[in-house]
């Protein structure tokens, strides 16, 4: 709302308040306009006045709580709604917003409990039923969610939130085809709905990240090739490629996100801070609803794949530090053995100096081979290799992800690249040991 229109609206409501000082609605509409203009603090003040003056009107509590939720003050929102329910009874919008408060704070177990109560009081409200099913899916109670959706009946079956939950359920169960159909229908019926687009993206990502049955037929040769590679991160893409072909290597940096410069610094500093509680923290990613283990000095983040609020954060951090210490020992052993080819992947166009710097950083740990994969730019050949030295091959791939929330991984291109890189490095090593081969 532009400033001119806002001031005109404010003047109009203030005038109405003067002429009808005991009326609920002028103040309420003023508070709504303030909230919609992003003036949350002012809106909250006006809503509080409304609640104080009209304690038996539930809309005041709803408006106040809704604005507090927007301001992420979930505790105050909850307190307001509890007060409203005590005063006015379990009206739909009071119960609805109490459940929404838990959802917005990513407290899925509490959200499930609260949505259940709303549905118990208002069984014909498709939105509440759909949100309850979503909360159940978020806490892993897939069977219960499925029963709930089946029992929804014809009247609610077509409700957007019910369809939303069906799509989420199909994704959570790993039913790729059904999930794709459900999401397509939902997105087509609600074009541009950011909540649906976001959830679809996360579900696609979750399908990719879920360990389970190999989506592609297991090819022993592919398995053997990819097992010779270990990810140094950049992002999770190479880890997902290995997963796609049935491999689950235990790599310290497999699910890590870092810039090559920061990774070089970490390697140059001897990897000593990994597993050290003084240099690690847990970061809650509310978009993906997972915890990241963050190595604070290097801005390196490792996706733990564990949902927020499903574990005790302090205990989990301690457990993660022990885990990373174990995995660090494995990584150092791999550096020492010299058998693995390490892969670093970036979405950025190639910077040779950066790639060579990273290669120098890993070289301090032994005869370590590095495959540095960058995004192919316009006019650059996708899959092209460049042998820079006996321990560094640079490659470019088109279509490497992620694009916003969706991963579009060119699995076949990765496998082909790895096969060629493995052959190239083998030849280089053989040549280093036998000059006759080199010639």
């Amino acid at each position: 709302m532009d400033e001119g229109r806002f001031e005109a609206a404010r003047a109009s409501f203030e005038s109405a308040q003067l002429s009808q000082p005991d009326s609920f609605w002028p103040a309420f509409w003023m508070a709504m306009i303030l909230a919609r203009s992003g003036r949350n603090g002012e809106a909250i003040d006006v809503y509080r006045q409304i609640v104080a003056k009209h304690p038996d009107d539930s809309y005041g509590y709803v408006g106040l709580a809704s604005t507090l939720i927007t301001a992420k003050d979930y505790d105050q929102a909850d307190a307001t709604l509890v007060e409203g329910i005590a005063r006015c009874g379990f009206e739909y919008w009071l119960g609805f917003n109490l459940a929404l408060s838990a959802d917005s704070g990513f407290d899925h177990p509490l959200a499930s409990e609260r949505w259940e109560k709303v549905v118990a009081h208002y069984p014909q409200e498709g939105y509440a039923l759909g949100r309850w099913a979503r909360a159940l899916i978020n806490i892993g109670e897939l069977d219960k969610a499925e029963r709930l959706l089946l029992d929804a009946g014809q009247a609610l079956a077509g409700h957007t939130q019910v369809l939303f939950s069906r799509a989420m359920l199909a994704s959570a169960r790993g039913h790729d085809e059904e999930s794709a159909v459900q999401w397509r229908r939902l997105r087509a019926a609600n074009p541009g709905d950011m909540e649906i687009e976001g959830a679809w993206g996360l579900s696609e990502q979750a399908l990719l990240f879920a360990e389970g049955e190999t989506p592609s037929p297991l090819q022993p040769a592919a398995n053997e090739t990819l097992n010779q590679f270990t990810s140094l991160g950049g992002d999770c893409e190479f880890g997902l490629v290995q997963r796609h072909y049935g491999l689950e290597p235990l790599g310290l940096l497999r699910w890590s996100s870092s810039s090559p410069a920061n990774l070089s610094r970490l390697l140059d500093d001897g990897l000593e801070r990994i597993g050290d509680p003084a240099h690690t923290s847990l970061t809650a990613d509310n978009d993906q609803d997972v915890y990241y283990l963050t190595l604070t000095a290097y801005d390196l983040m490792i996706n733990t794949m564990v949902k927020i609020r499903t574990v005790d954060a302090d205990k989990f951090l301690s457990q993660q530090n022990r885990r990373t210490s174990f995995l660090l020992r494995q990584l150092l052993g791999q550096f020492d053995d010299g058998d693995k080819i390490f892969v670093y992947k970036t979405n950025e166009p190639l910077d040779q100096a950066v790639a060579q710097r990273l290669c120098q950083s890993v070289a301090r740990y032994g005869d370590v081979r590095l495959l540095y994969v960058a995004a192919a730019g316009l006019g650059e050949e996708s899959g092209g290799l460049e042998v820079v030295g006996k321990n560094l091959i640079i490659a470019r791939l088109a279509g490497i992800g992620p694009l916003e929330r969706s991963w579009n991984i060119p699995y076949g291109a990765w496998l082909d690249l790895c096969e060629r890189v493995e052959r190239a490095f083998s030849k280089l090593r053989a040549a280093a040991h036998d000059p006759v081969i080199a010639s």
Binding site: E211, N227, E248, P249, L250, T304, M305, V306, R322, R323, F326, L327, R329, Q330, G333, Q334, D337, D339, K340
Partner: protein, 81 residues
């Protein structure tokens, strides 16, 4: 350490790590057979095995693990000598 002792030790570890008490360890039992045995659990399993059996797993040991039988074999050979 005998194979039987290793199985006993691993069974105790499994009972701690997994809520399903009915899991019985056999040589060909693998991650595909046990709900919740993902890569995170694999790391916990290996860490617990190192502590229980006072062994240290090398990368090549970890890479080749496809079943309980493989793990028993690695523990057995690591604890010799």
């Amino acid at each position: 350490m005998t194979e039987s002792e290793i199985y006993e030790g691993l069974q105790r570890i499994f009972n701690d790590l997994f809520p399903d008490d009915s899991i019985v360890l056999t040589a060909d039992l693998s991650a595909r057979d046990v709900v919740g045995w993902d890569s995170m659990k694999q790391v916990e399993l290996l860490m617990a095995a190192e502590e229980t059996f006072q062994v240290t797993f090398r990368p090549k040991d970890v890479d080749g693990l496809n079943s309980i039988g493989d793990l028993v074999g690695v523990i057995g050979s690591s604890s010799v000598g």
